[in-house]
Subunit: 360 residues, 2 copies
Amino acid sequence: MKTAHGALQTPFFMPVGTNATVKCLSSEELKELGAQLLLSNAYHVYLRPGLEIVDLFGGLHGMMNWDKPILTDSGGYQVFSLTKFRKITDEGVTFQSHIDGSTHVFTPKTVMEIQKILGSDMIMPLDECAPYPCGHKQAVEALERTTRWAKEAKEAFALLHKDAGAPEQILFGIIQGAAYEDLRRRSAEEIINVGFDAYAVGGVSVGEPVDLMFATLDWVMPLMPEDRPRYLMGIGMPDQIVRAVGEGVDMFDTCIPTRYGRNGTAFTSQGKVVIRNAPYAKDMGPVDPACSCFVCQNYTRSYIRHLVRTGEILGLRFLTYHNMYFYIYLMQDIRRAIDEDTFPAFKKEFLRKYEGAVTC
Amino acid sequence: MKTAHGALQTPFFMPVGTNATVKCLSSEELKELGAQLLLSNAYHVYLRPGLEIVDLFGGLHGMMNWDKPILTDSGGYQVFSLTKFRKITDEGVTFQSHIDGSTHVFTPKTVMEIQKILGSDMIMPLDECAPYPCGHKQAVEALERTTRWAKEAKEAFALLHKDAGAPEQILFGIIQGAAYEDLRRRSAEEIINVGFDAYAVGGVSVGEPVDLMFATLDWVMPLMPEDRPRYLMGIGMPDQIVRAVGEGVDMFDTCIPTRYGRNGTAFTSQGKVVIRNAPYAKDMGPVDPACSCFVCQNYTRSYIRHLVRTGEILGLRFLTYHNMYFYIYLMQDIRRAIDEDTFPAFKKEFLRKYEGAVTC
C-alpha cells in the first residue's frame, strides 16, 4: 500500500495518537519500535490545539515530528461517543465540545477540509455510527445518511484536491449497517458503488459480542474488492486481530496496547499479565520471557510492578512500550506467515497458546 | 571523588529518584543525558517495594538497571516532612508510614543496615532536621541528637562493613544547627570531630529565606575540610547552585528539574519559561534556543504546550528531559569554568542573564 509518506506492508496495526501523540511514547520510540504509521483523531486535534495551530506546522507530521504515514478518522465516532449534546441532520452534525461546551458543526465537506489541513495520508469521510443495540429503523437511517455523506465527501475531496498544492491523500469509504446482515450487505454495495480507494468496516467494537463482529466480517468481506485495502475500525485484542486477518482484513487500529499498559497490564506470548497483581512482587523475570523488546531485556516484572504501584510514569511507559512492541511484532509474524504460506498453522498455534494461557 | 561504581567529577548535581526512579525518565535516558549518578530516598524504598524485594536484586543498582553511583539519604528528612505521627527519642524515631499507617522505627543503626541492603555508594546517617522557624532550645536538642546519632551511625557502619562481602560505601556526616550561627558552628565542629569521609549541610531548604541559606554556608563552609566532598542537601534553583559553587559546595540534589517539568515549566538560558501559558500557543521555536538537547532539536514550544494542556505524559517527559539536560549541562559549564579558572566571570555572567530574564 503506497502513501505520500512511504509504502506500507499489510496487514498492519496503527498505534492510536488521539491528541497528536501516542500516549506515553515519543515519535522516536515509535520508529524504534518499528511502527509503520499512526492514527490520530480529527475530532480531538480539531478542538485542541485547533486547525490554526496545526496549519502553522503544515500539518500533523510537522507538529509531531513524524515523517511516516498518518491516518485520521473523521471525528464522527468521537462526536457520537464523547459529546453530551449533538444534533444530526442530513447536512451534518452539530455538537458541543466535551472540553468546553463550545458549539461546532461537522459536515461531509468540512471533515474533508479539516483532514486536508491535518495533512494525513489516509482520511475518512463523515459517517453515522449506529449504537449497539440499535433498532432496524434507526440502523437504516444511519446507513442511508452514511451513503449520502460518502457521496458528498467524495465530491468535496475531488474539489479540494484539484489544487496542485493539495496533500496526496487516500479517501476511504466506510461501511455501516449495525448488526443487521441485510443492512451490512446493502451498505457495502452502496459504498462500493460510490467508489473509493480503500474501504473500512465501521460501527464495530461498539459493545456488540465478539461473535457478532466476526459475523459482520462474514457478511461484508466477500463483497469488498480484494485489490483495495480493507480496514476493520477500532479492533482489537491480539486474538481478534489474528482471526480477522484470516478473514482478509489488512488494517487495524486500537488503543488497547496503550490503554492496557497504562492500567498495568501486559500482553505476552503467554496471554495477558496483570503486572500490578501480588504474584509478581518478587518475580525477577521479564514481562514476557519470549520478548526481545528493550524493557524485557533490561527490567523485571518485580521492578515494573513497583513502579506501577507507586504511580510512577516510568511504569506506564515501560508497559506501553512493551505492549506496542507486542502488537507490532505480532503483525510482523503474521506477515511472515502469510509470505511463507503458513498463516493457517500460525493462526491455530497462536490462538491455542494465547487463549489457553492462564492470565493472572 | 571515587566510588564503587566509578569516579565523579565535582561539582555535580544528583537527579532525585524518590521511588527508585527519576520521575518520567528511564535509567537509559539519564545516561544519555550525562547524569553521573543519582539519589534515591531510603524512606520511600524501605516502605515500597521494601527491603526484602530490593535485596532480591542485590540492591538498588540491579533493580533500577543503573550501574553508576547512587547516594541514598537516611530517611530522616522524610520522616519529619511526610509522616503525620512520629515520636523522637534519643534512641531513634518511631513513625507511621504515610502510605498505610503502619508503624516503623529508624535508629542510627537500622538506617545503616537499610542502606547496606540498598547498596548505595554514598549513604547518610540518621539526623534530626529542625523545622524553620525553630526556637534556639529545640535547635540545640536537634543538634545534640544529630551528633549522638552521627557517632552511633559511624560505629554501626564500622561493624557492618567488617564483613568482606559488604558493599563499598562512603558515609557522610550531616551538619545541623537550624538558623543559628552559634549552633551551626558548633554542629560543624562536633560532626567534623566525629570524623567522616564527606560532609553535608542539612536542615536547609526547609522554608527559610534564601539569604539565610547562604548565611549558613558562610558560617560552616570555612570549618569544613577542603579535601572532603561538601554536599548542600536539597538545593536548588540554578542561580542558587551557581552561587553555592562559589562558596565551595561540591554536591547538590533537588527535585526541581523534574517537579517543574511535570508542572509545565522549563529552565532555559533565558530564565524560567512556563510553557503551558498562552503566549507559547503559536511559538514555533524550541523550548530553549540555546539548548542542544533532543527535545529542543526536534520539538516546538507550541507542540509541547499542546501536550501539557491535554495532560499528555509525553509533554511531562519532554519538559523533564529538557530540564534535566539544563541542570546537567549547567554543572558541566561550571566545571569547565573552574578548570579554566574563569568561574567568577562565569558566575557573574550566568546570574546577570538568568536573573535579568523576563520569565513568563
